[in-house]
Symmetry: C2
Subunit: 222 residues, 2 copies
């Protein structure tokens, strides 16, 4: 995709997430010039109805579709809406953002001294011309993360720092939480919240060019 | 170490490297308040005399010792000097920073479609009291990195971006180069240039407290 960066930058790409880490990867690291339009999707899916990989993909898809429909209704159809959702999975249990400092302490105790999985689901919703339904693509990427044993006073100090509170699994690998990680197997950016390599290989630049043209036209060509 | 962060921050820590990535990990991610004093060590070791792990450790050690001696000569003895050196190893060949865009193109072609190792050596030089020699500790950390196959036009576009030029192995995993990486095995920060977890477990906070007291006193206690 890097050799097509100009075509990608020229498209109207929307990121349906306000996660500063995803914005950083797409707009600072890759300079894709995506506009950020946070989704209002409630994220009220019933976890028991899904595998973890299915759950993050469906969350990502619903986030992207909500933003796509809203922009089309506002007569600002985008070329591409990117949705993403990240969870931590330990013993087949899905860990999301902690709701309290106590919940963060419990999650970090569960992750201490063992391996867990980080799953990010990504949905790509490409705009279609003339009122046709959008085309969709989605995938989930998994990375294994090995945690050192964390003494209780270390967990307390980390929770007191505030870093865990807005992060799936109650830690940020790109922050002080990175000091707990002895190693990973798989894509690092996936743990941060966006599987960059897989996105770059999966993005369909030809489709993006077509949907970009469609989005910029008000009526069919004659 | 996180539960001892205040003691670490109170010490006079010197980072003998001006690598913006190392400064970021120590001072932004971990907020260690280290002062940056780049080493003037020539980095003229003969590679053939060392294993790759021995080579990066000795480079790190020489960098740290040069800065330690300079600060002591200026009567500003530090508590701790941290030296670090990172190389990429492919087929037992050490790849450092490219000397030209052509060299960067060749290195990236060598890394394309296969795995390589990233080695970072770290040296910790703790200050001693009253003219005694400093105490030293050093280690090397290895991470395996898997690269996707890179078509020539992708390599050309990446070299043209300028990103490869100041980086061992001609890529930055924390930048656009991260999009080439299908996965890693081991510590991510080690690939960026500083093995954060290993440093945190290896740092001897008690020794740092003692050398901090020594450094701040002008004469022996009575």
């Amino acid at each position: 995709m890097l050799s097509d960066l100009n075509a990608v930058r020229a498209a109207h790409i929307i990121l349906a997430s306000s996660s500063p880490r995803r914005v950083d990867i797409l707009n600072n690291v890759m300079d894709l010039r995506a506009r950020v339009v946070p989704s209002t999707f409630e994220e009220d899916l019933v976890k028991a109805d899904y595998t973890p990989a299915g759950y993050v993909q469906e969350n990502a898809r619903q986030k992207a579709l909500e933003v796509y429909r809203r922009l089309c209704a506002a007569e600002a159809p985008p070329s591409l809406v990117i949705g993403a959702d990240t969870v931590v999975v330990a013993d087949d249990k899905i860990l999301e953002k902690p709701r309290s400092t106590e919940a963060a302490t419990v999650m970090l105790s569960e992750l201490s001294g063992r391996s867990h999985q980080v799953l990010t689901g990504v949905a790509l919703v490409y705009g279609a011309a003339y009122g046709a339904p959008p085309t969709e693509d989605s995938f989930a990427e998994m990375t294994e993360v090995d945690f050192a044993s964390l003494p209780p006073e270390l967990i307390d100090a980390y929770v007191a720092s505030g870093e865990p509170m807005d992060k799936a699994g109650s830690y940020g690998i790109q922050g002080m939480g990175g000091s707990f990680v002895t190693g990973i197997r798989g894509c690092y950016q996936n743990v941060v919240g966006f599987p960059l390599h897989r996105f770059c290989t999966r993005l369909d630049v030809d489709r993006l060019r077509r949907s970009g043209r469609a989005g910029s036209m008000e009526s069919p060509p004659v």
